[in-house]
């Protein structure tokens, strides 16, 4: 109770003091920029200075710390206005280079999402690539359809556009620049293709995202200077923070930003379409944010180093919202390229480009020094606390328990059983899969009718000679579609259903799934 009250008061103080300009104010800083004597350092230069002369002195000396990040940000996209054709059209569907854009807006407004994929080249080309091509000045094929109205009679069009043709084209990204991000590995025995890149089996590698000690939001950990209205470097041009990003969770170091900026001022060097194998397309977005050292709290977080920024390494082979933590690490260890998991040295590599992030921080620094970029005090600060709610599935889903053959209808065998005896039982009960259990009831193998046929052909006598020892299993409360996927993946038709201690509870077959599930839907 006391703790909660203390936390509440503490949060109150923080909210009151957050953003207070104690060391210097925005007007003062902009004056210095105008005079050409503002002291600007990149986050990495500032870290070095703090190490040499201490935080106090460094904070007095330096006015602005520049940051940068260049990573895959799927929640990105562009609003566009195409202008009206003659006769005009109320577009209800439209495609840019075969990538569908959202048309639930006025006649010739559209939103193109970075993760939308080309209908003719899916997993190779998507909205992110279209944005890169637009900014590169390339010609884009525009196709649109409509039902025709009295005011907008045209029903279809095909033409080409370039960025300059558009009335407005602005990047509007609902979630960018994660403060930090979890890292990924894979404990399973197969290669995984994820939004965190290629993950080799059995902890074969680790991938991570974010720029660590250059990360804009981590350098202003308390969100004291980055808020609604902050002017930023976005995709090589000028952009603004337009609010908290989706899934903003600052209390755990996962703050995010929604940002906006004019595509016409941007550069393809900092906007790159990308594709994650078997996952989909996305956009690498370059963001740089200047952090004015307005008080000592801001200065102290601007000086945080890679080793001060914690990163959990999660097991992406668990297909769940809550993936287990394999190890608690940090950006310094991850960037070193080698991470110890148990006694195994696992190679690690980034998905975000540290090289480009560093360049963005440099470019932004130069822009400020050259009096081309001035700071904007946020109109409003971002929330310092946000609950991150899961999506509850309220409709009951079909689980293995609903469809499995219960234990009492199964035949269980022992490894010492005779092949012939079991073959006879199979014929009597018309069953295809026989789980094999040890004396204490633990599942240790499985035989199928095919194994028995082979055993008879090869003159084998005991089940232990022919049984499969690595058994793929299911759990009673698993969703049926997960289990069906597993069957397809391993090319098998039946899985023993087990509890946590590998005691057999039942058996589920592809036959059960197709017959009972279809029956259920029909009923």
């Amino acid at each position: 109770m006391l703790n909660t009250i203390c936390a509440r008061i503490w949060r109150g103080i923080l909210i009151m003091e957050r953003g207070r300009e104690e060391l210097r104010g925005y007007e003062q800083i902009n004056e210095k920029i105008k005079r050409g004597d503002a002291i600007v350092m990149t986050a990495e230069e500032f870290i070095e200075l703090v190490e040499q002369s201490g935080l106090e002195k460094a904070a007095k000396e330096v006015d602005i710390v520049t940051t940068g990040t260049f990573g895959a940000m799927c929640s990105s996209g562009a609003f566009m206005n195409f202008g009206h054709s003659e006769p005009p059209i109320k577009m209800i569907r439209c495609w840019l280079n075969d990538v569908p854009a959202y048309k639930g807006l006025a006649a010739v407004d559209a939103y193109l999402g970075a993760a939308a994929m080309s209908e003719t080249r899916p997993f190779e080309y998507g909205g992110g690539h279209v944005i890169e091509d637009l900014v590169s000045g390339k010609e884009i094929e525009l196709r649109a359809e409509s039902y025709g109205t009295d005011c907008y009679p045209r029903r279809s069009l095909e033409t080409t556009i370039v960025l300059e043709d558009l009335n407005q084209a602005y990047l509007y990204n609902p979630r960018n620049a994660y403060q930090r991000y979890n890292s990924a590995t894979n404990s399973s025995d197969r290669i995984l293709y994820t939004y965190m890149g290629t993950l080799l089996p059995r902890y074969g590698n680790i991938t991570f995202s974010g720029s660590g000690q250059l990360s804009p939001l981590y350098k202003d950990l308390g969100l004291e200077t980055i808020g609604f209205g902050t002017r930023i470097f976005l995709g090589g041009g000028v952009g603004y923070v337009v609010g908290e990003g989706t899934q903003h969770k600052p209390q755990s170091g996962f703050a995010t930003l929604a940002v906006k900026g004019d595509l016409k001022g941007m550069s393809p060097e900092y906007l790159k379409g990308a594709v994650f194998q078997n996952y989909g397309t996305t956009l690498y977005v370059g963001i740089g944010i200047p952090i004015p050292l307005i008080n000592m709290r801001v200065a102290s977080t601007a000086a945080l180093k890679d080793e001060d920024i914690p990163v959990d390494i999660l097991d992406y082979s668990i297909p769940s919202r809550d993936r287990p933590i394999v190890k608690k690490s940090n950006y310094a260890e991850l960037k070193s390229g080698r991470v110890l998991i148990g006694d195994k040295e696992v190679p690690s590599s980034p998905l975000s480009s540290v090289k480009v992030a560093r360049k963005i921080a440099e470019v932004l620094k130069k822009q400020i020094e050259n009096k081309e970029f001035f700071l904007q005090r946020p109109i409003e600060l971002l929330p310092s606390y946000r609950e991150f709610k899961p999506l509850k599935i309220k409709k009951r889903e079909v689980t293995v328990r609903d469809l499995m053959m219960p234990l009492q209808e199964l035949i269980l065998a022992s490894p010492e059983d005779e092949v012939k005896k079991v073959a006879r039982l199979i014929v009597e009960k018309n069953i295809d899969h026989i789980p094999i259990i040890s004396e204490d009831g633990v599942l240790i193998g499985i035989v199928t009718t095919w194994d028995l046929t082979k055993a008879l052909a090869e003159d084998k006598h005991k089940l232990k000679e022919i049984m499969t020892r690595t058994v793929i299993t299911a759990k009673e409360d698993e969703r049926v579609d997960e289990v069906a996927k597993r069957m397809a993946q391993y090319h098998i038709s039946g899985l023993p259903v087990v509890d946590d201690v590998m005691h057999v509870k039942g058996l589920i077959t592809s036959d059960d799934i197709s017959r009972k599930l279809v029956g259920r839907r029909a009923a």
Binding site: Y193, Q277, K355
Partner: protein, 129 residues
């Protein structure tokens, strides 16, 4: 030195590689092989250099094989690459790393041409040669 060998119909059934290994005593590692009785292709790594290598390549050629010297098994398009590093840790032979400028560097001696990096690259900047 990595070398690609092309077997034509005439020589596909002859134990050419075994003969050369026996004759020269060289260590030859087979990295990839696709052989049918009709024709085939093989990528091998010959663990030698200088005149011994020249000699071995000469013998392979005179046995009727087409010999293509591979300087590298993969190629990075620097114009597309954004130096993200997504290809580095998935490489099973640890052939890929950042150089001092944080650019991607592929060690041709370590590369086995498996192609995992090709799929791992978000920019589709890597190609098998």
């Amino acid at each position: 030195m990595k070398v690609k060998l092309r077997y034509s119909h005439e020589v596909a059934s002859k134990p050419i590689l075994a003969e050369i290994i026996l004759k020269t005593g060289l260590l030859i590692n087979i990295l990839e092989a696709k052989l049918t009785p009709k024709e085939g292709e093989m990528v091998i790594d010959i663990a030698t250099q200088g005149s011994a290598l020249k000699n071995a390549l000469q013998q392979l050629r005179s046995s009727g094989l087409e010999v293509i010297e591979l300087r590298s098994l993969v190629e990075v398009d620097k114009g597309l690459c954004i130096s993200c590093g997504a290809c580095i840790s998935p490489c099973p032979s640890k052939a890929i790393s950042f150089d001092e400028n944080l650019d991607i560097e592929i060690d041709a001696k370590r590369c086995i041409g498996c192609g995992i990096c090709v799929k791992a690259c978000p920019r589709r900047a890597i190609q098998l040669i």
